[in-house]
């Protein structure tokens, strides 16, 4: 028996929401989204909170929540401050309904700067895009974009996409919040020990550098492992790197 299309979309959405519970990082969230989104022609995902207009580049980048976007393009985009001229960002801030980027063309016909952003994006396999504006509990405006060479989004699928975007962003925001709580628990000494461990130093070497005993290092590392919810030194280092705690 063939399931009707809306029923199938709902079943798939519910399956995705259940799967999301197991996602441990924003990267895993993207990994779960991509196979579903590929049938719309989407290869890339970017979601984040819209930064204030006066924010600097670092603040803008820290507002990104889900990042499966061409890295070269992101570098160029944030270096050149494109966010200020991006017509999609502007539409999200104005509280628009979900839109295809091509729908925006009439809005920026007279703005060469906006044209340039959109033209350059298409050089990075972001020719065609779809953006869903969302609002967070804290009152921030968020945007969830998917893009690719050629998107095909039937109007009746937009509801499903809005749900996928909402749950993916919601899960990623909760994960981020949990990370921030974990980060706040680690002491500066524990972080320092982790940083040296990440650089391949032994317990003895870390003790020498930090001017404490090997036993003291062991104590810091054990505390860090516990707070990060990890059992091995390698896993603790990997978690700390993922959270951006050390580099």
């Amino acid at each position: 028996m063939n399931e009707s299309s809306p029923r199938k979309a709902l079943t798939q959405t519910i399956g995705f929401i259940q799967q999301l519970e197991r996602a441990r990082s924003p990267t895993e969230v993207c990994g779960m989204l991509l196979p579903i989104l590929s049938r719309f022609g989407a290869e890339h995902i970017l979601a984040g909170l819209i930064p204030r207009p006066d924010s600097n580049r670092q603040q803008q980048i820290s507002h990104i929540i889900l990042d499966h976007w061409p890295a070269d393009w992101s570098r160029r985009y944030f270096t050149h401050g494109y966010i200020a001229r991006d017509p999609a960002i502007k539409s999200v801030s104005l509280g628009a309904s979900p839109f295809l980027w091509s729908d925006l063309r009439p809005l920026y016909r007279d703005s060469p700067a906006a044209w340039r952003v959109m033209e350059e994006a298409s050089d990075f396999r972001l020719k065609s895009g779809f953006t869903i504006p969302l609002a967070t509990l804290e009152g921030d405006v968020a945007g969830f974009s998917i893009a690719g060479e050629r998107l095909e989004i039937p109007p009746e699928e937009r509801g499903m996409l809005t749900l996928l975007a909402t749950y993916a962003l919601g899960r990623a925001l909760l994960l981020r919040e949990a990370d921030l709580k974990t980060i706040a628990k680690l002491s500066p000494r524990e972080r320092e020990a982790l940083q040296w461990a990440a650089e391949g130093k032994s317990e003895w070497e870390i003790g020498e550098i930090m001017g404490i005993s090997e036993h003291g290092v062991d104590k810091h590392m054990r505390a860090a492992r516990m707070k990060l919810g990890t059992t091995s030194r390698t896993h603790a280092v990997a978690e700390a790197i993922r959270m951006g705690l050390i580099n």
């Binding site: 029923r7 709902l10 609002a135 967070t136 509990l137 009152g139 809005t162 749900l163 962003l169 925001l173």
Partner: protein, 210 residues
Amino acid sequence: MIHIVTPENEHLFRDEMEQAYQLRHRVFVEEMKWTDLAKDDGREIDQFDNEHAVHMLYIDEGKVLGYQRMLPSTRPHLLSHVLPQLCEVERPVGSHVWEWTRYCVEPGHRERGRALSPVANALLSGIVEWGLAGGISTIIIEMNPLWLLRLVQLHFRTMPLGLPQKIGDQDVIAVTATFDQRTLARLQEMRGDHEKVLAEPGTTWRRLAG
């Protein structure tokens, strides 16, 4: 404070219930233009305002600033009798499942672009306190899908019952939202205290919920 009004204590809240029906009319008919609910006397009352409904009123110095209504899923409610098309899966039914309807807050007491207003927080906390005390874990909600992200962030575990649909010019989705101690903790953390929002931890509502 949130006061729970049921047939057993409604004689104590005649004036406040009057205000609640008028608030509902101002918000749903005049502001949101749900014109089929319009009443000549300016009191929005429907077929579900019967002896099975549990009314929750936010009352401050005799003024009703917020309102919501809980309906048992084991009796006729909106999802079963008014908006059945929103539910494309098996309809959730049980003594632990109630439907949340007619949520409204006096305009001057809503969020101004930030977080939840104190009245909104108290109304949500009221549902959770009431539910946790009475063995109710899940609410059915019909709402604009834009609200979904906020519920997820509040640690409600929500599940769509169907895809969003247009009703009039509004997008509406039906979901179930399950809550637990974490939901309550999150709401308390957001408002910065651990006080109960329900006025009387009396036995009236506990008995009704059970």
